[in-house]
């Protein structure tokens, strides 16, 4: 019996009484536990969990401007150092007021995307004219990702959620694999956190938000910088835009490559 240790394992603190209820002493009726499937189905080597990401998307960059948000990501999904899938959109329109950009394990992105799409269909079935807003989606994502990390079985993703709230204000947030979330006028994942964030912060006027033109130009510039310095990046990217008129995905756009300077670099 190789796996006995596994089927005996009970999660800590889940076999006690719920607050206000009575303790179930042994000999009495045993309550059947409803454990999540991934904790009860054992493989040949015990319960399996993904320990790292396999097919990965690189950076996602989001910028909030006065009338909406823009989220950009290149179209490469890598398999280790192999540039495996070169024409995959990683920025998705969710509904007319939400766009979502995904980095990290692409399988996990697709999985969470399917769940979100199903939620949007349920949303539509009410036919009450009410649709989900970006703040609600990012809050929901924190709960899903936090639960998964608490079971030590995380979804290896780092997502950017953007859109327009009910009152018309733009919203931009980042949620990571542990369920950590924060809002800002610029958020980034992957290499863009190192390369693009400072570039955007440097150009932020103190007294006002970016304009759509400024945001668009910054996205273009940052995707160029990312292409030059991030080895898991490609010269092609898509930009998701969400404003008062709805959501669109622009592109694929090409990075304006210029390697004429390359010959001048010496000493490496």
């Amino acid at each position: 019996m190789l796996n006995n240790y596994n089927s005996m394992a009970q999660p800590l603190w889940q076999n006690g009484p719920t607050p206000g209820a009575f303790y179930n002493f042994t000999g009495g009726q045993q309550q059947t536990q409803k454990l999540p499937k991934e904790l009860t189905t054992a493989g040949p080597f015990g319960t399996k969990r993904s320990t790292s990401s396999i097919t990965t998307g690189s950076s996602v960059l989001g910028i909030r401007y006065d009338g909406g948000v823009m989220i950009a990501a290149d179209t490469l999904v890598s398999y280790g150092s192999l540039a495996r899938y070169q024409n995959i959109d990683r920025v998705f329109p969710i509904n007319k007021s939400i766009i979502l950009g995904g980095g990290g394990d692409f399988a996990d992105i697709q999985s969470i995307k399917r769940t979100i799409d199903q939620k949007m269909i349920e949303d539509q079935c009410y036919a009450d004219g009410i649709s989900m807003k970006p703040k609600a989606l990012s809050s929901w994502l924190t709960r899903v990702l936090y639960n998964r990390r608490s079971r030590m079985n995380p979804l290896y993703i780092d997502v950017v959620v953007g859109g327009i709230e009910q009152d018309g204000t733009p919203f931009l947030a980042n949620v990571d694999l542990r369920g950590r979330a924060h809002e800002d006028y610029v958020v980034a994942t992957g290499f863009a956190r190192h390369l693009a964030l400072p570039l955007v912060r440097e150009r932020k006027p103190k007294d006002r938000d970016f304009t759509a033109e400024e945001a668009s130009e910054l996205i273009r510039k940052c995707m160029e910088v990312l292409y030059y310095r991030d080895t898991r990046n490609m010269a092609q990217y898509t930009v998701g835009v969400c404003n008062a008129t709805g959501t669109t995905i622009d592109g694929p756009c090409k990075v304006s490559e210029n390697w004429s300077f390359a010959a001048t670099i010496k000493g490496y």
Binding site: L2, N3, Y5, L12, W13, F45, G46, T51, S52, T142, L145, Y146, R149, S150, M152, P154, N174, D176, R178, G179, R180, A181, H182, E183, D184, V187, R193, H194
Partner: protein
């Protein structure tokens, strides 16, 4: 190689042997300070959210108002902070609907302790300070460790620069080991509490890379909560 013990383990995965790779915890930095006076309490937190050398945002409030008499400040693992404060807000609302009154600061303090101890064996990795006005109208501060130990105090510092800030408060607010020539220490005013709290953050930002950008200060009195902001160094 065998002397290093390498050959004792096969290359394939073996049941019962696990290798640690994913950590559910992360330190996202930030510092908090609370100082209680006779009929007021000042609670402050910086607004930097970071991990390692990355600064995620410079404008993240770490103060969570739970009622118009109680404010919770929380730093540490940000995803735990979000979960804990979210749960606290839900329970505050549930209490209000059940009992048709707002929880007192002392009750919130006890509830926070229980909520945190509920996760005794997988703790919320957070440093919490609760500040508010108690039943008698006095300013109070409660401080917590990550597993829910609760202590009532008059002033407290916590977070990444907690160990830098606490001695300053011991000296400036607590007048610890000072020769006062037999006189009583002066009564703490609201202005002095805000000034000392601000100064501790300015000092902490010099030495702690996880503290900076700006400080949000809440001044809680029986009349409500007043908010102030102070800029810190951004490097």
């Amino acid at each position: 190689m065998s002397s290093l013990g390498f050959e004792q383990f096969p290359d394939y995965q073996v049941p019962g042997v696990s290798h640690a790779d994913f950590s559910p915890y992360e330190s996202n930095g930030g510092s908090i300070v609370a100082i209680a006076g006779e009929d007021f309490v000042v609670i402050a937190a910086d607004t930097r959210l970071s991990s390692g050398y990355n600064i995620h945002t410079r404008t993240q409030s770490k103060l969570f108002p739970l009622s118009n008499k109680t404010v919770l400040a929380s730093t540490g693992c940000w995803c735990d902070t979000l979960s804990l404060t979210g749960l606290m807000k839900v329970r505050m609302q549930s209490y209000e609907h059940t009992h048709l009154k707002t929880m007192t600061t002392d009750a919130v303090a006890q509830m926070l302790s229980i909520t945190m101890y509920n996760r005794r064996f997988f703790p919320y990795y957070v440093s919490n300070i609760l500040a508010g006005i108690d039943k008698d109208g006095k300013g109070v501060v409660f401080s917590y460790d990550p597993i829910g130990h609760c202590e009532r105090a008059t002033y407290r510092a916590g977070g990444t620069a907690g160990s830098l800030l606490q001695p300053v408060l011991d000296n400036q607010i607590g007048y610890k080991n000072m020769n006062l020539n037999g006189e009583e220490p002066p009564v703490l005013t609201k202005e002095r509490a805000v000034a000392v709290a601000s100064d501790t953050f300015i000092s902490a930002a010099e030495r702690d890379i996880y503290t900076g950008d700006s400080v949000l200060i809440n001044i809680i009195t029986a009349d409500g909560i007043e908010t102030k902001e102070l800029q810190l160094r951004q490097d």
